[in-house]
């Protein structure tokens, strides 16, 4: 969801794409990593590949669409979530992957394995992204 700025339909498309790739690459799975890590890797990389497709609208267009929808239960929380999607979308592609995995609640060691970075590098990067993301949601600047 984070990669497509909260667009549910596009997220479903991407999920399908990921499972097609999992199916196609199943023979190359060599149990060097857990199956979950392996699927996460395919997911992050498939999202990166989507840069090619035009249908993945620009952040602003989606943001405009999101703000058009009526807000129900808790407007400020809803707004913050929308802003969060927008802020995540402003991050560089790999930082986006890192923070989305962190938000998914994955341990940093596993994130490091998925991203191909050292544990220390991931720790530092997460710390930095957390700060800029929080600041962005508060002040609308990254």
């Amino acid at each position: 969801m984070g990669y497509v700025n909260g667009n549910d339909a596009l997220a479903k498309d991407l999920t399908q794409e990921v499972f097609v790739k999992v199916w196609e690459n199943l023979a190359s799975f060599r149990e060097e990593a857990s199956i979950a890590t392996w699927i996460y890797r395919i997911t992050v990389n498939t999202c990166l590949l989507q840069l090619r497709k035009k249908k993945y609208l620009r952040g602003n267009e989606i943001f405009e669409k999101l703000t058009e929808t009526p807000e129900e239960s808790n407007p400020s929380k809803e707004n913050q979530l929308k802003k969060m999607y927008q802020c995540i979308n402003k991050l560089p592609k790999n930082s986006r992957g890192v923070i989305l995995l962190e938000l998914e609640g994955l341990p940093q060691k596993e994130i490091a394995e998925i991203m191909g970075l050292s544990h220390e590098a991931v720790r530092v990067r997460i710390h930095r992204i957390k700060n800029s993301l929080t600041q962005c949601v508060k002040n609308d600047s990254i």
Binding site: V20, N25, N45, L49, K77, L81, P92, K93, G116, T134
Partner: protein, 184 residues
């Protein structure tokens, strides 16, 4: 709770998408349709090649050297261009998608750097060769076609060249933008 933890809890509490009940079926359908598309593409390309060869013999192009060279250059340029696109698509499909994200990003950057070379070196050469081939055919067209139809061929080919150039330029611009984004 820190500000980020607060954001994280909001993230976790957002409405989850429903998991489709027939998800596996949908995916299998998609895999089958991808394979079908590949077969159709191969059939269309082979048929195009055969039609071109048949046309070559139908107009007895081999009897006229200039016409033969002209046609050869045009068809050769087209075939080369299609071949390049296919090899690119194959390279992209063969990228190791299960590797780490950093390695994958490097693979993608390498791929787009290669594409950049294709766009700035090979594509202009191919277009030039195609145009030379077409210019070589013009005298034969002038001889065998009515002046109205000849003018139509000349004008429409120019329009086609402009439209094609705009299309290629847009694609190149798009790929360069992706490369820039990957390198950021």
């Amino acid at each position: 709770m820190t500000a980020f933890e607060d954001l994280k809890s909001q993230w976790e509490n957002q409405a989850k998408s429903e998991i489709p009940k027939d998800g596996a079926k949908q995916i299998l359908k998609k895999i089958t349709s991808v394979r079908k598309k590949q077969v159709i593409t191969n059939i269309v390309l082979t048929a195009t090649g055969l039609v071109l060869v048949a046309f070559f013999f139908y107009v007895s192009a081999y009897k006229f050297q200039t016409v033969m060279i002209g046609l050869f250059l045009m068809i050769g340029a087209l075939v080369l261009r299609i071949g390049l696109e296919f090899s690119s698509i194959r390279t992209l499909k063969n990228l190791n998608v299960s590797t780490s994200a950093e390695k994958f990003k490097k693979q993608m950057i390498r791929y787009y750097m290669k594409r950049k070379k294709v766009h700035f070196v090979l594509t202009p050469i191919i277009i030039l060769v195609y145009c030379i081939g077409f210019l070589m055919l013009l005298p034969a067209f002038k001889e065998s076609l009515s002046s109205g139809f000849y003018n139509y061929v000349v004008v429409s080919s120019m329009v086609l060249l402009i439209v094609l150039s705009i299309f290629i330029a847009r694609e190149v611009w798009k790929e360069l933008a992706i490369l820039k984004e990957l390198k950021d």
